[in-house]
C-alpha cells in the first residue's frame, strides 16, 4: 500500500473539442485549446517548478518560478498564465531558467525558517520540493535581514494551525477560500514586504472561516497544517473512500499510519466533490474512534436491567430466540426492521432481504421515511423514477437556480460551493425559504428574489409560480407537446390558471408579495436553463409529495428537463439515503422501486432466495409505532437510526418502543433508541467496512475499509449472523457478492460491479446494457414513464394551525457543523461551533415576550414542551421560530407533531404551532430524559470486567 497522490497539472485542464499542438522540450504534445503551457507540460509528464500554481485554482502568476522560454517571444513568461498555442516551441529547462528559478528560491528561503527536520510538513512540502528541484545550495542574502520568522501562530481552529512564519504569501489559501469554497474569509493584508494572509476576525475561529479545509489543502508549506499531522506526522498509505455525512457523498483519501487515520483529504478525482470538502467530512471523523463506541454485543431482559456484555454468538442466539418467540405468539407481522441511510447499499440490501425472506413479511422501512420519501413518490408519479434528474456538475450550466426549502451552505456545503461558483459567474438566483438563509446574501452572491414564504405554504407558492407561467404564455409548448401527456397537461393548465392560484390570491397564505412571485416566475421561465434544488423544507410537510409534484410540473412546463443545467434536484439528507431507497427499503417496494405486488419481479427474487415473498405492503415506521402502542407490533431491529431522537412526537415514539418486547439496536453508540432496547449489536464505522454509498445524484461510490471493525464484525456480517441464528442463512464472503446479487435482480444496477466501480471510479445509475457508463442526466429523450405526467396540485392547508395559545410557527433544520441527531459530530471538536441547540426568534417576537438573547425559553406546542436558549435573529421573519435537533436533551422532537405527508407519512417537521416564554428551568421531559439517560444505559460492571 502506498500514498495516493493525484497529478497536479498546475492549472485546470481545459475541456472542449478544439485542440492545439505544441512542442515542449522537443516533444510534440496536443492539448485542448485553453490549456496552459504548464498543464500541457504536465500532461506529458514534465513538471515545471511552481509554488503559487495548483490545478484546483485559477492561474495567478505570482511566484515567478514557472518561467519558461518560448521561441519567438521575448522574456521568460510564466507558464501557468500562458495559454498553449499551435506551433509553439517551449523550453522548460536551460541554464538561464535555472538561474532565474534559483534566484527566486533564494529570496523565498531567505525569509523562511530552516527547521525542515522538525517541521510537520517535512516530506510533504512543496517549498522543500522546489528547493530540491532548482538545486538550491546556498542563500547569498543570508538569513539576518528583515524577515517574518517571528510571525504569530494562530491555533484557534480546533483542526488546523496557521503559522505565519512559514507563509510565502503565494495567495493559494486566499484564492482557495474564494474560488473553491466561495466564503472570502481570507485576504492578503498590507503591501509589499508587509503583505500577509489575514482572516477577517481576531483569529481563524472568530472569522467567517467555515473550516472546509480548502486553504489547508492548497497551502504549499506548513503554514496551514492539520493538527493531526502536527501530532502524528505524515501518513504512509491511503485509500479512496466516501464520506459518511450528507448526501453529497464526497470522495476522500483516508490517509493512514497503519490502522490510524492521520487525515481525510478530499479526492480530486471524486466526481461528487472534485477535491473539495466541508468541516464535517474533512475533519469531523474522530467519532469513529470515540471512547463512547460500544464494541461488545449486549443483551438484557428488560430495559430497566443493566446491559450484560456477551459474545456475538450469544447475542445472535438471544435476539433470534426472542424474534421467533414473538412471531410464534403474536404472528408473523408482529416484527419488522428499519434500515439505515448511513449504512452501505450492501448492508441495506441484506437487511431488507432478512425481513422479506427471513421474517416473512414486508415490515421494512428506512429513515428516508422521515426525510425524502415524498421525493420518491412525487418524482415517480410525474417522471417515472424516484430520483433526482441531474449530476452535480450540471449546475455549472444553469442560468437560473431556484432553491426551495433547502439551505445548501449549511446542509450540503460542498455542493453549495459549486452552486455559488456558478452564481458568481452570473447565474440568477431565486430563494423560497421562510428564513433569510446565507444564500440570500453572502459575499458575491445574492438572490434576485427571496420569497420568504410562511411554513406550510409551499404548494400555494409553487402553484402561484406556475400560474404566472401558464397565464402569461410562458409555457415551453414545444417541450410539453413532444415530451408530456397532453391531456394531463391541459387538465393541469386549466387548474393552475384558476384565479385561486394567482400570486395575489395566495398572498394571505404565503405572505409573499405578488409582484415578487410574478417576477421570479418570469425569470425562471425565460432566463435560460432553469434548475430547481430542494431539500427537506419541501418534503417534510403534510403536502410534501404534492409539492414535489408541483416542482416537477414547473420543470416540465418550462422545458427544464433532460439536459445539462436544468432539472429537479433533491438535496438528500444522509450519505446513503438514495441508496437505502434504491435497495428496496420501503415496505411496498423491492430493489429498483418495483412494487411487491408485481408477480414477475417477486418471482425473480423468490427463485433466487428460495422462499415465497409476501405480495402485500408492510408497515411504515409510523405504522409500526402506532401498532406497537396499540399492542400488535412487538419486535424491531433498528440499524444505524435513532428514532427516539430523530422522529417526531418523541413521547409517542418512546411509548411505541416501550410497548415492544424485543428491540434490537445496531449502532456505534448507545443512542437514545438504545435506552429502550433489549439487544445491542455494536456497529462499524464507514472506515471499518467495504461497500458502496449512493449520493443524491445517483452516484454509486466505493466505501473502502481502512481499519479492522472495532467490534470484530462489519454491519453486513452482523445482519448475516442474526439471520443465520433465525435459520435464514445468507452466504456472502464479501460485500461485492451482495452487489452482484443486487445487479442480478435490479435492472438499473445490471451493469454495476466492484470491478466496474474500480474501473470508472464511480457510476450513476441506471447503469446497464443501455448505459454501460451510467446516466449522469435522466429523461434525456423521454421520461422513464414515457410521457411526463402533470399532476394537479391543489393547496390544502395543514391541520396544524396557529392560534391564541400557540401563535408562532416552529420550523426545524440543520446547521453546518453538526449533522442530523449529532451522534457523530457531537463526539468531535465541532462542538466548538455549536454546543447546544438554540431557538432562533425574530427581535419583534422576542421583545413582545420579554426574551433577551441567551435567555432560557420554554417552547411549547400542543403535544410537548422543552426549554432552549434563545438566539435573537432578524433572519427569521416575525411569527416564525427555528431550532435544530442535533442534541438529544434539547428535545426538539418533543414538540413536533405526528402530522405527516398524505402520500408517504413523512412527518411534518417544518410546521408546528408553538408558544415561547421565558423560563428558569428545563422542562419535565428534559429532567426525566436526563434521568433515563443514565438509568437506562447502565452496563453491568462485573460482566464487563469478566469479558475483558
Amino acid at each position: 500500500m502506498s500514498l495516493i497522490k493525484e497529478v497536479d497539472y498546475g492549472t485546470k485542464l481545459a475541456a472542449g473539442a478544439a485542440t492545439v499542438t505544441l512542442t515542449i522540450d522537443g516533444e510534440r504534445v496536443t492539448v485542448a485549446q485553453g490549456t496552459s503551457v504548464m498543464a500541457a507540460a504536465m500532461s506529458m509528464g514534465t513538471q515545471i517548478p511552481k509554488l503559487c500554481a495548483t490545478d484546483m485554482l485559477d492561474a495567478f502568476g505570482s511566484c515567478r518560478l514557472c518561467l519558461v522560454e518560448i521561441e519567438g517571444r521575448r522574456g521568460t513568461p510564466a507558464s501557468c498564465t500562458t495559454p498553449a498555442e499551435n506551433g509553439m516551441v517551449v523550453h522548460t529547462q536551460n541554464a538561464r531558467l535555472a538561474k532565474l528559478r534559483k534566484g527566486v528560491m533564494e529570496l523565498y528561503i531567505s525569509d523562511h525558517p530552516l527547521d525542515c527536520l522538525t517541521c510537520p510538513a517535512n516530506g510533504d512540502c512543496e517549498l522543500q520540493d522546489m528547493a530540491g528541484a532548482v538545486g538550491l545550495r546556498d542563500v547569498r542574502y543570508g538569513y539576518k535581514g528583515a524577515n517574518h520568522l517571528d510571525g504569530a501562530k494562530d491555533e484557534s481552529n480546533p483542526y488546523f494551525t496557521f503559522d505565519e512564519s512559514k507563509c510565502i504569501v503565494c495567495s493559494r489559501c486566499v484564492r482557495a477560500c474564494e474560488e473553491v469554497q466561495g466564503t472570502f474569509a481570507l485576504t492578503i493584508q498590507g503591501r509589499g514586504f508587509d503583505s500577509k494572509v489575514a482572516s477577517g476576525g481576531v483569529d481563524f475561529l472568530s472569522s467567517e472561516c467555515v473550516s472546509c479545509g480548502a486553504c489547508v489543502q492548497a497551502c504549499p508549506t506548513a503554514t496551514l497544517t492539520e493538527k493531526s499531522i502536527i501530532e502524528m506526522g505524515q501518513p504512509e498509505h491511503s485509500k479512496v473512500t466516501t464520506c459518511a455525512y450528507c448526501g453529497v457523498g464526497c470522495s476522500f483519501k483516508a490517509e493512514m499510519q497503519g490502522e490510524r487515520v492521520v487525515r481525510m483529504v478530499p479526492y480530486k478525482d471524486g466526481k461528487a466533490n472534485e477535491g473539495h470538502s466541508c468541516v464535517k467530512g474533512r475533519f469531523a471523523y474522530g467519532y469513529a474512534t470515540s471512547k463512547d463506541r460500544i464494541t461488545k454485543p449486549m443483551i438484557r431482559a428488560a430495559i430497566t436491567d443493566p446491559w450484560r456484555e456477551v459474545s456475538w454468538d450469544e447475542a445472535f442466539a438471544y435476539a433470534a430466540s426472542e424474534f421467533k418467540r414473538i412471531q410464534a405468539k403474536y404472528g408473523r407481522d408482529s416484527v419488522g426492521a428499519i434500515t439505515s441511510s448511513r449504512c452501505t447499499n450492501e448492508e441495506v440490501f441484506v437487511m431488507q432481504k432478512l425481513v422479506r425472506a427471513g421474517f416473512g413479511n414486508n415490515n421494512v422501512d428506512t429513515c428516508a421515511r422521515v426525510c425524502h420519501s415524498p421525493t420518491g413518490y412525487g418524482l415517480k408519479m410525474t417522471f417515472g423514477t424516484s430520483a433526482g434528474t441531474q449530476d452535480f456538475k450540471s449546475v455549472e450550466k444553469s442560468d437560473v437556480i431556484l432553491v426551495i426549502g433547502a439551505n445548501p451552505t449549511d446542509a450540503h456545503p460542498v455542493f453549495a460551493s459549486r452552486m455559488k461558483k456558478r452564481l458568481r459567474a452570473g447565474a440568477r438566483l431565486i430563494v423560497a425559504d421562510p428564513r433569510r438563509i446565507d444564500l440570500v446574501k453572502s459575499p458575491h452572491v445574492h438572490a434576485d428574489y427571496h420569497l420568504p414564504l410562511l411554513p406550510g405554504s409551499n404548494v400555494a407558492m409553487i402553484n402561484a409560480l406556475a400560474h404566472v407561467i401558464v397565464t402569461e404564455g410562458l409555457v415551453d409548448e414545444a417541450f410539453v407537446r413532444e415530451r408530456c401527456d397532453l391531456a394531463d397537461f391541459e387538465s393541469w393548465a386549466r387548474f393552475i390558471a384558476g384565479e385561486e392560484n394567482s400570486p395575489e390570491a395566495v398572498e394571505p397564505i404565503t405572505g409573499v408579495k405578488p409582484a415578487d412571485v410574478r417576477a421570479a416566475a418570469r425569470l425562471f421561465a425565460t432566463g435560460g436553463n432553469g434548475a430547481i434544488y430542494y431539500g427537506l423544507g419541501v418534503t417534510e410537510h403534510s403536502q410534501g409529495s404534492t409539492m414535489v409534484m408541483g416542482m416537477a410540473n414547473l420543470a416540465m412546463a418550462t422545458g427544464n428537463l433532460g439536459r445539462d443545467g436544468v432539472g429537479v434536484n433533491p438535496l438528500r439528507g444522509q450519505n446513503n439515503v438514495q441508496g437505502a431507497c434504491d435497495m428496496g427499503s420501503f415496505p411496498h417496494e423491492l430493489s429498483g422501486y418495483r412494487h411487491v405486488s408485481d408477480e414477475a419481479t417477486r418471482e425473480m427474487f423468490e427463485s433466487l432466495w428460495g422462499v415465497k415473498l409476501d405480495h402485500e405492503p408492510g408497515l411504515r415506521i409510523p405504522n409500526m409505532l402506532d401498532e406497537a402502542v396499540s399492542g400488535d407490533f412487538k419486535g424491531l431491529y433498528v440499524q444505524g437510526e435513532d428514532i427516539a431522537q430523530s422522529d417526531p412526537d418523541t413521547k409517542h415514539v418512546v411509548a411505541g418502543l416501550e410497548g415492544m418486547e424485543c428491540v434490537i439496536v445496531q449502532d456505534l453508540f448507545l443512542n437514545e433508541t438504545a435506552k429502550y432496547a433489549h439487544v445491542f449489536f455494536p456497529g462499524a464505522s464507514f472506515l471499518e467496512k467495504d461497500g458502496t454509498f449512493t449520493n443524491a445524484e445517483r452516484r454509486i461510490n466505493r466505501v473502502r475499509r481502512v481499519m479492522t471493525p472495532m467490534a470484530g464484525l462489519a454491519d453486513w456480517e452482523v445482519t448475516l449472523g442474526f439471520a443465520k441464528a433465525l435459520g435464514f442463512e445468507m452466504a456472502y464472503a464479501h460485500p461485492s457478492e451482495i452487489m452482484d446479487e443486487v445487479a442480478q435482480l435490479t435492472p438499473g444496477f445490471r451493469g454495476v460491479s466492484y470491478a466496474r466501480l474500480d474501473e470508472l471510479g464511480s457510476v450513476q445509475w441506471p447503469c446497464n446494457e443501455e448505459a454501460p457508463l451510467g446516466t449522469p442526466i435522466m429523461h434525456v429523450d423521454h421520461f422513464v414513464r414515457g410521457k411526463g405526467r402533470f399532476m394537479i396540485t391543489q393547496f390544502v392547508a395543514t391541520e396544524e394551525r396557529t392560534g391564541p395559545r400557540f401563535p408562532l410557527l416552529l420550523t426545524t433544520g440543520r446547521i453546518l457543523s453538526q449533522y442530523n441527531v449529532g451522534a457523530q459530530t457531537r463526539r468531535t471538536l465541532n462542538n466548538v461551533w455549536h454546543e447546544e441547540d438554540v431557538l432562533e426568534i425574530h427581535p419583534f417576537d422576542a421583545e413582545s415576550r420579554g426574551i433577551r438573547d441567551g435567555d432560557l425559553v420554554a417552547l411549547a406546542s400542543r403535544i410537548g414542551e422543552v426549554s432552549l436558549r434563545a438566539s435573537i435573529s432578524d433572519r427569521m421573519q416575525p411569527g416564525v421560530v427555528y431550532t435544530t435537533f442535533h442534541h438529544p436533551n434539547s428535545g426538539a422532537n418533543v414538540v413536533t407533531t405526528d402530522n405527516s405527508d398524505w402520500a408517504t407519512n413523512c412527518p411534518e417537521y417544518k410546521v408546528t404551532a408553538v408558544q415561547a416564554r421565558r423560563t428558569n428551568q428545563v422542562s419535565d421531559w428534559q429532567e426525566q430524559d436526563r434521568e433515563t439517560g443514565v438509568s437506562l444505559r447502565r452496563i453491568a460492571r462485573e460482566a464487563a470486567d469478566a469479558a475483558e
Binding site: R620, D626, S630, Q794, S900, W902, A903
Partner: protein, 75 residues
C-alpha cells in the same frame, strides 16, 4: 379513548388526506386512485381496520373516502 380507537381515528384521518389529494380528479378516477393508493401502501390489516370503521358507520369519512373504502373488496 383506547389506543386502538386512537389508531383507527388516525387511519381515518390519513385516508381522508389521501382523498383530499385525489379530489381534483374526475370522480371515478379519484375513487380508483384512492383505492389504488390504499392497496399500494397500506397493509391489509390497515385496510381492514378502515373497512371495519366504515361498517360501523364511517361518520368521519370524507364522502370520497367512504366510496373508495366501500369498494375495497380484496382485503
Amino acid at each position: 379513548m383506547s389506543d386502538a380507537a386512537t389508531h383507527a381515528e388516525k387511519l381515518v384521518s390519513m385516508a381522508n388526506q389521501i382523498a383530499q389529494f385525489f379530489k381534483s380528479q374526475p370522480h371515478d378516477e379519484a375513487v380508483a386512485s384512492i383505492m389504488d393508493h390504499l392497496r399500494s401502501f397500506w397493509t391489509p390489516k390497515m385496510r381492514r381496520q378502515i373497512a371495519e370503521y366504515l361498517a360501523a358507520g364511517g361518520q368521519s369519512f370524507d364522502p370520497l373516502t367512504k366510496e373508495a373504502v366501500a369498494r375495497l373488496t380484496d382485503i
